[in-house]
Every structure is written in C-alpha cells, then in structure tokens.
Amino acid sequence: MQCIVLIKQVPDTKNITAKAMRDDGTVNRAALPAIFNPDDLCALELALRVRDQYGGSVRVISMGPLRALEILRDALSRGADEAVLLSDKRFAAADTLATSYSLSEAVKKIGNYDLIFCGRQAIDGDTAQVGPQVAEKLNIPQATYAQEIWKENGKVFVRREVEGGYEVLALKTPALITVTGGYVLPRPRSARRTIRFRNVTAKPEIEARWKKENPDMPAEELDKKVEAEASRCKQAGLLIDVWSVDDIGADIKRTGLVGSPTRVWRVENVTLHTGESKKIEPTEDGIHALVEELIHDHVLG
C-alpha cells in the first residue's frame, strides 16, 4: 500500500498564554511552542501500521515555513520513508480552501498512492475541513473520524467513530481517511533514525546557513557551494525536498492569501473567570446539593 500522510506543525494550544491571539483574531504562532499536530501523529501511526503489515511506503507532506522541517524530521524518525515540504511565500496565509488545493496538487505530483491519511483536525484552527476538501479535489472516496484500518480479502476496511459507537466501512482505493486522535498511541521515535535524521536538512536551510556564515561571498559562488552541499546530503539520504508553487504547477490565484476567500469577520473575546469558587462540605448533604446543582445546570445527565 502506498501511503501519503498530510501533517501540520501547530502552535501548542494546550499551553496557551494571553499573547497567543492577535487582535485580528488570528493565532500568533511565534508566541507558542510548535508541535506535531496530535491527530496527525495518529494518522502517521496508522499509515506506518498499514505499511508494516501490508508492505509499501509512507510519504509525508507538510505545508509551512522552513521551521516545519522539525515535524518532518520527527516523522522520519518514527519510520516515514520520505518527506516533502511545501514552502513558498505564495502558500502562506492560506485558509482551508487554498490549503487543500495546494496539498492536493502536491499529492497529484507524487501520483502513485493508495491511501492518504490526515489528522481529523489541527488544534490551531480546529476546522476539520482540509482532509475532506483534499479528497473532494482529488475526487476520491473518504472516511472521516477513522480509528483503525485493515485489509480483508483484498478490501480496505475502516472503523470510524460515530456518536455513541463506531461503524465499519469498506473503502475503494485510492481513498483518503482522516484519523481521530486518542484511539491509537503513536509509536515512539527510533533511536537509530533519530540520530541519523538529526542532520536531515533542506536546500533553503543550507542556503540560509551559507549566507549567514559568508555574508560577502559572491552569489554565484554561494549557489555552487549550496548546490554541492545539497547534492551531498541528497546522496546520503539526508535532504528533504522543498516544493514551491511552481514545482507543483499550482495556479497562484488559488494558493496562499490570494486564494483564500475566508476573512475573519468579527472577534469576540471570551474570558473565562476562575475567581468564583464554592466550598462544598464533605458531608452527604454537601454532595447531594452539588449533584443536584450540576443536574440543574445540565452538566450532568
């Protein structure tokens, strides 16, 4: 099974601070640590299990700034076979429509695939739209909220979470599935691969380093040095390909901010106060009063 996993680097919204949101209602990514989106990690795990059990390969794609190389390194350390980064100013500030367009064009460029795995949703935007939109743009079937995937008599089955239980779907491949976190525990990184891929890099990263260390080097010479180092890394299997808008042949009117019709209309600040507290006496009566209050407030039942 040839698998592709779409992964995203997200600000760690579990450790949120007051500076996390800008006034215009967008997330200030610089203020928070960047992590592997948790659902995407589970998507990667399912893809790796499919490969380990049925053979094939796992390729991961992420779209983002160069910093997103971190999660691609992480994915390689956990066992992904190949990684690609979509990085270009013209991809930036994309909404779900532009993102899914760009990702689907990258998938088309890779071509040969049986299954595409996405996390159900990213913890920054929480839209859960990108996976389904990619499936629509590729015109392939999709199964959302997946927990488990397996093959039986040549058919692919997916167990998906539904309210109050689960259902099992048979899927025609190629297909896309979005994976719900919390059902599978992502495997840890491998020590050997972590060490090996610690130095995995990408051409823009090599270029930036050469420029910083040699500010006076003529552009032509610099290009040569960068090219030479990049090809050395490539040979050693330590180069992540970075694709631009042109590399995937995308229509620049449909990518990035230009391709994003979504605008933040209004931002409402909801501040939750924790000032109020109520002391419940540790007696039968105290507990009864608490339970009744919770039922009354529809917290219980």
Binding site: P188, A191, T194, R198
Partner: protein
Amino acid sequence: MPNFYKDNPDMEFSLHSIDWSEIIRLKENNFSEAGIFGDAPASVEEAMLNYADILNLAGEIAGEYIAPRSASVDEEGPVLKDGVVHYAEGTVSAIRELSQADLMGMPLPRKYDGLNAPTFVCNLAIEMVSQADAGLMTIFGLQEIAETINLFANDNQKDRYLPKFSSGEVTGAMVLTEPDAGSDLQAIALRAVEDKESGLFTLNGVKRFISNGCGQVLLVLARSEPNRAGAAGLSLFLCESGPTVRIRRLEKKLGIKSSPTCEMQFLDTTAELVGKRRRGLTHYVMSLMNGARLAVAAQAVGIAQAAYTAALSFANAREQFGKPIREFPAVRDMLVEMKTQIEAARALNMETCRTVDMDKLLEHELEKGILQGDALKETKDRRALYKRFAAMLTPMSKLFATEMCQKVTHDAIQVHGGSGYMKDYPVERYYRDAKITNIYEGTSQLQVVAAIGGITSGTYKTYIQELEQSLPANVDEDLLQLIRKHVELQEETLAYYINQEEEAYRDLYARDMVDLCADLIVSYIYLRISVKNDRKKILASRFIRRAMPQIRMKSARIMSEERSVIDAFDQIVA
C-alpha cells in the same frame, strides 16, 4: 509531556560530568563505523550528541508511555496460566515501545542491530526506565544477558541470538539461583550432561527466584562436572524456553510486581555451552553479576528519583497550618537530604561506569593483539588497574545506591504523612519496590564482602590517589583539606583494622569500613563536579560537611573493640 531526561537537569549534567572522550574513542574503535552505519558517530562530539538523543528518547518513553501505566501494572502483574506466563498489558506495551525505539539492544554492537552504547549511557537509561516502572528493569535493565552472550559466546551463537534481543523479539533471563544456592552460588546442583556426539548438553534440575524466567533465551548456570564441588564444577549454558522448561510457579512479591519471578524446572532441556567449561561462575557469571549490580544501582537511583519527585510535588500542594508543607523546616530537611543523596549516588554510578568501561574496553584492545612494546605494557598495566577499580567500585555503588534508596523512599512516605501510607499515592509502591534492590544480585552484606578486599589490598589507596589527581585546580580548599584530614583518619583506621588478627572482628566491622570508604570516595567525586556550577558547589559542601562526622563515627566504632556479637551472641539472642 513528561520526559524523565529533560525534566531532571541532573541527567544532562551527569552525561557531561566526566570527560568520556577516551572511552568513546575506544568504544567506537576510532570511529571506524562512521559512514557504514547511519547512527555511527565520526567524532567524540557527535557521539555525545547521539547519547543525548538516545537518553532524551528513553526519558520520553519512560515519562510519557511507561510511567502512566505503572500503577495498573503493579496491580495487575504477570499471570501464570497453563504453564505460560502472560505479562501485564502495560508490560507488553512497554517492551514493544522500547523495541520500536531501538532501546532493547543498547550495549550491543551495531552489527547486531545494537546502539553500541557505553555503560554510562545504559546506566542512565536504566535509571529512567526504573523511575517509570521499577519492575520493568528486570526485562529492560538486564541487557547484561545479551551483553554476556556478546562477550563470551561464539560467533554462531551471537549471530543467532543478539539481533533478536535488539529487535525485542526475545527477552532473556539469568538463571542462577536454586532453592539451596542463593547467596552461595557455588552450591548449585542443576545437572548438565554432555552428549559426546553432538557436543550439546542436557539440563535437569530446578531453579528458583528467576527474574523473567519466562524469557525466551536463558543463560543457565549448571554443574557440568559432577565430581567437582564448588565453583570449579560449574559452566554456563544457553538454551531456549520450550516444553522442556516448565515454569512451575510465579512468586507473590512485596514489590516489583510487574516483573515475573519464576520457579523453573528443566526436564532434559537441550543446551549449548557458553565459552569454556568450568568457567561458568568464576568468569562469566561474575562478569554478568557485576554488570547486573551496576544496573541495580541505577534502578535504585531511579526509584529514589521517582519517590523524591512525588514527595516534592506533594509538599508543594499540601497545605497545613495555612501554608504548603514545603515551608516547614522538617520537611525541607528531608527533601534536601533526599536530593543530596540521590545526586551523590548518581555521581558515584557515573564514576563506576567510567572504570567499568575502561576495564572492558582496554581488555578488548589487548585481545586484538595489535599492541606491542611500551604501548602493550602500558595498556596491560592500565587495564589491570581499572579492573581492580571496577571490582571495588561496582559493589560499592550498589551498596551506596540501594541503601540510599531505602532511606529516600522511606522519607518520601514521611513527607506525605498518612496519605503516603495509602494506595492513593505512588510512594507506598516505591517503598515496596525499593526493598528488592539491596537484596538481589547480592545483598548489601555480600556487597560489603565484595568491596572490602579492594580496601584492604591497597586498591582503594591507589584509587584515592587517582581521585586526588583528577581534581580541578579551583576546588574549594577548605573542603579539600577537610577530606584529606579524613583520608588520614581512614588510613589510621584501616591499619588498625588490618592488624586485627581475628577474622570475626574484621568481618564484624567490614560494613563500617566499606561505608566509610564509600563516603570518602563520594566526597571526592562531589568535590570534583562542584566546580561545574554553584548549585553543585552547595550540594558538595553539604554532603562533605555532613559525611565527615559519619566517617569519624564509623572510625571510632571500628576501633571500639566492642565485640559482643562475637563473644556473647548466644547470651543475647538465647
């Protein structure tokens, strides 16, 4: 996300507390594998980065995967059903995850899919895994079993078994103890009879208290020479689990409940000889045991670290008399003492690892047979020296760390008060888990027997001189003088001790002697690392100033001539 490496700054400190460059060069055979294996380093610096990566990963798995399940694993434990041992679910997961992370073959060479990690790296990893689940140590921490195969088995045996250890496909057991041969392994009776034609042996007999005896690859100590009593009649064998190896019972234990402790019966089990006949106990098991002792020392530090962490977090949260109990001097005293002793034991472990690695690696250099002339002589001399250092420090480390662990887990409950006595908090488990550490792989009393020889033979004195020379120039002069004064006292005491003609008197005070010497060694090590930062300086000063009165006390006791245990045992005990 909890990470036992990142969350505890002393781990990274310990990794960098000693200059490992010679060990790394020897271990990496001058970086001959760089470029051949993707994870082989090309320099000392790169090797250190690799070790940090490995330990960071071990810390992540310990903190994030293993620790959250340890309470349920303790509750559930392994089960024996129809002769088959089933691990608790959490144990199965832990073995899978550690295997996925390539951590099940840490000390093994890369050609057997290992990480070629030196002892000090393995030691810190064992510590963190034990911090998460002490019982898992008998599976993860006893990678010494694979290491023993690597050191003494033939190439064919290594090729067959070692990659399976690395991948986690098999786990092992060291099958030594018998009902009538515990501390006294020379009394082992399990029979091994050679089949002259095949060269294989048949094992028959019973073993008891075997940690992870349900493992698939078993190293069995057995009597191959029926007419020879004692150690000289014992050889080491390698066999696989199967229908001829019956697990008769799982022990119900006080602690480390996740670890299956098996009683086993061998019924015509086919086994292969490891190395040479009659060297089983004297060479191979001694080496295996020393490795295991150092691993137990790491386990003890890990359990103590877990107990300390729990005690500190409780002391921060629990309020009495209107303030967190960490504000009370009596509680602070316990917390500071725990921390001082844990870091002392960890530092001693690192130092012991250094001597163990030097011993092993110089031996390996000599075995290559390339060295000649002065270089050969020098290497031989150094190896002999480190062999003596390692033989003294290994039991000392185990003694120091495992006794420290008793006290720390005890005080961790004390900090919790009544809550700590309840199952609602993890400290009662740490307290139960701690107890095995100063029993198995040789009780504390036996560690004393193993360490005292080095003290009376002069190894200790040579080692103290090496410690003196290893001190940086800028150590605190007052503390150094204080230690030196007590070194003199030790020499005086030792002279008195050696002069006692009566063996019973020397045996009686051996424990005080070893404790005294260990305190001096740890004082030197603390002083050596105290120049690295102000915090360590404070801890070193605290440790040294509090250890010196203990040393004087032990010295006075040794020279007290109080001998009622010898003279009046029957009257007292009656």
